[in-house]
Amino acid sequence: MTKTTVRDWLKKPIVGILLAIAIGFAVGAIVLLIAGYNPGEAYGALFRGVFSKPKYFAQVTIKSTPIILTGISFVVAFKSGLFNIGSEGQYITGALVAAIVGSQINLPPVIHFIVVILAAMVAAGLVGALVGFLKSRFHVHEVISCVMINWIMLYLSNYMITLPWFKKAGTEASVEALESSWSVVANNWKTSEEGLQQLAGSDSPWAEALLKTDLNYGILIAVIVAIGIYLLYKNTVKGYELRAVGINPHAAKLAGISVDKSIVTSMAISAAIAGLAGALTITGVMPHRVTQLSMHEGYGFAGISVALIGGGSPIGSIFSGIFYSMLTYGSASIQSETGAAGEIMDIVIGVIIYLIAISSLIIMLLNRKSAKAGKAAKNG
């Protein structure tokens, strides 16, 4: 019986993920040792680089916001059996539309922000819906259309930045979004005369976290989205249908669920969330504008890693997004404190993701074995 319990325990996804993380760090430590660095020191630097000051942790959460959202975006498509590799392009769409609506329209604060993110989500959602439509109508594989749209959006954004009404003279970037559209925490107060005085006078590390970072409401919105998506799948008819289509389109179709419609819906939701990630970067983080890019920034791919480490769950993506962001942000401290290359964290993340991919394979095998035994048990 002990054999079964160990097996059951190993089958819990969270155990596999934690194990993968532990092994990832162990492998990183070995690499550091070989390279002649003390892994204890390096990981200590990583830890201090994240936790020693509220400012650092504020940076981690700020940087985690877009990848939590692109992670959830990936999860949504994946639940319906789709591989949305296009969150990169959808992110750019969201950012571009947010910059346009944020800079060209004048609205009161809060309302302006809401209009900006809704516009960005609708635009990115339409891009996703197009991918879904191409798949359901013409059987174009979503990976192909997504990759193409990634580049189309990159160049569209670069082109828009050259237009006179949008380009900021003397820069390779667009004009900034108006302050009324910003989602920066206590922006008015911290830029006001008395706010500045009070903050400058205080040597509280919390004041520093507020003043010297772009601390913004994006993380709260990401958490709300995660909970919303979780509830969508758990408690709604739509979520039920989207899941059914993802697991078994044949049975779903025969049962009267429209597979084509579900593909379009799922891609649209997925893309809208990636677009939201882009919009929140514009509203929340300096310099509140889009810039010329020669290549993708990698939020989409980071999202895939976040979704995987998060066990394919929207709630899990919050934690894995923050975790991922800790490793990437903290890697700078490793470099500055010990001299070891910060890229060591890329190795750790890479190992973790490989192991998680393998662990889901192991879980599948364990399930198959116990299903066989269970099957025999039922009839026996």
Partner: protein, 507 residues
């Protein structure tokens, strides 16, 4: 004396976790015989054979082949001892040719990295001739029938030098004709001094093919009988452990008014070939109309058109005069058509959903299962608890289990529970007992009959002629996409229908 046994398995026990799959099972197979292993789904037949083939290791017991004790740890060991196995689900590469599949993993090489197809082809041709296999070595697997694919698997085993061939449920995917051919092939093989072990729960085939039969129930040896000295009824009793009724109690058919009317239906398949070609039929309330026919005569396309999975080219399908052709699966469901699909795992269930979730697959958007788009889990769960109890979907508490964790028979019971609870007016059942054992078949048949007695119209599409004859009130024979004749069940006999099915002139 021992040397006359090709295979001896002595006191084999196997545990999966705490569950005992095999409990001191013995098996003695003589050289040159066809030995059947009979048992219900999950009795342990396949586990026993997987031990012989090296997939699993026994927890205790010995395996002997040709009079010597053996340690079989992997399939490779088994193959080197001349044991071959053909699985229920074939392991073939769809896009490769027959020849490539046969030599895969055991290629003759001309030079480094160059396969000597010529030599392999000559060898395989000879094998095929020896055993009267009629097979095109250059055809791609995806283009040949399931029966042919099975032959490829058999030749594959023979090509690797198998003298002892294990066939796992070989007939579950075959048409009646293909089953006959397979039995011929098996007889041919034993004449060439091969030994065959066949795992099955189909009694008729054991009677026709096997010499000896070992019966296993719940992981225990029940009996070993010479097939010549037994009959189907005795075998069934040994397998299930109780007397089994082969004939169903049927009340008089009380036919009502016409319910489902199909007129001049034409349906094309994906390759634009007319598979249903001007088909007309009428289904009445309170009757079972059986569609008998050889596979591939339009049954699949008829089913897909009735459920609106596929567009009809022309013609009409009506329920109570209301047109439902070319609408959508949901519309046909709302019009009152419930469906027991042919492939329960592919089309009937979402295997990664729980049974509770599966029980509302077609009607989750309706009250009381959801309100304003929000699911009511309590109602969904209660519904499943009630249905699983009523239809004896085992094990207890299956409502909360993944559908994929249930046995085939219980999966089918779950589908039947769901479809009957839909309370539609027409029940379309396609191969409703495929792959089920005797006990489960009895259950399914009774459920279908009780629907008829409630006044529902049942359209039964089945390749098992026995089943069609046993259940139907009228038998419609489908050939080349048309109904060639409709015969009252009282006047139907197997010979006449068989002739019609084969396209013989209408009696």
């Amino acid at each position: 004396m021992d040397a006359t046994y090709a295979v001896e398995m002595k006191s084999i026990s196997k545990y999966f976790g705490g569950f005992c799959a095999l409990d001191n099972v013995d098996l003695c197979v003589q050289k040159g015989e066809i030995h059947a292993i009979l048992g219900e789904n999950g009795a342990g037949k396949t586990t026993l054979m997987n031990i012989l083939y090296g997939f699993y290791e026994a927890d205790s017991g010995e395996v002997w082949t040709n009079g010597q004790k053996r340690e079989i740890k992997t399939p490779k060991d088994a193959i080197s001892l001349g044991i071959g196995m053909v699985h229920q689900h074939f392991m073939l590469v769809e896009t490769y040719t027959v020849l490539q599949n046969i030599i895969l993993g055991d290629e003759h090489i001309k030079g480094p990295g160059v396969i000597d197809y010529k030599k392999a082809k000559a060898e395989i041709k000879k094998l095929a001739e020896d055993y009267h296999f009629n097979i095109d070595l250059d055809a791609k697997i995806q283009d040949i029938t399931v029966g042919m694919q099975q032959r490829v698997e058999i030749i594959k085993a023979l090509y690797r030098g198998a003298d002892i061939l294990i066939l796992d449920e070989p007939t579950s995917v075959l048409t009646p004709q293909e089953i006959e051919e397979l039995i011929d092939i098996m007889h041919n093989m034993v004449q060439n001094v091969k030994t065959i072990i066949i795992i099955t729960h189909k009694l008729a085939e054991i009677m026709k093919s096997a010499d000896t039969c070992t019966v296993i129930r719940r992981g225990k040896n029940i009996d070993k009988v010479a097939v010549a000295n037994t009959c189907e009824k005795d075998l069934a009793e040994l397998m299930v452990g109780r007397a089994v009724e082969f004939t169903v109690e049927k009340q008089e058919c009380r036919r009502g008014s016409a319910l489902l009317q199909i007129d001049g239906l034409v349906v094309e398949d994906d390759r634009k070939i007319k598979k249903v070609d001007g088909l007309s039929l009428e289904l009445f309330e309170g009757e079972i109309l059986g569609i008998a026919g050889v596979d591939g005569n339009g049954q699949k396309e008829l089913f897909e058109a009735v459920t609106s999975l596929r567009k009809a080219k022309s013609g009409s399908i009506r329920i109570d005069g209301q047109d439902i052709q070319n609408t959508s699966p949901r519309k046909t469901f709302e019009a009152g058509i419930s469906v027991i699909p042919e492939d329960r795992q592919k089309s009937g269930l979402v295997l990664d959903f729980t049974i509770a979730e599966n029980m509302v697959l077609e009607k989750v958007q309706n009250a009381p299962f959801s309100k304003h788009g929000i699911l009511d889990w309590k109602v969904i769960r209660q519904n499943a608890d009630k249905l699983t109890k009523e239809y004896d979907v085992r094990p207890d508490g299956s409502a909360g289990m993944r559908a994929g964790a249930l046995s085939g028979g219980n999966q089918q019971k779950a589908i039947i529970a769901r479809e009957i609870s839909n309370d539609g007016r027409v029940l379309v059942a396609v191969q409703p007992t495929r792959g089920l054992d005797v006990g489960a078949i009895e259950f399914v048949h009774n459920a279908i009959l009780s629907e008829r007695d409630k006044g529902k119209g049942v359209l039964l599409i089945s390749l098992e002629l026995d089943e069609v004859l046993k259940l139907s009130d009228r038998v419609a024979v489908i050939y080349n996409g048309r109904i060639v004749n409709i015969i009252d069940a009282k006047d139907a006999d197997e010979k006449r229908i068989g002739l019609l099915m084969a396209g013989g002139e209408g009696a």
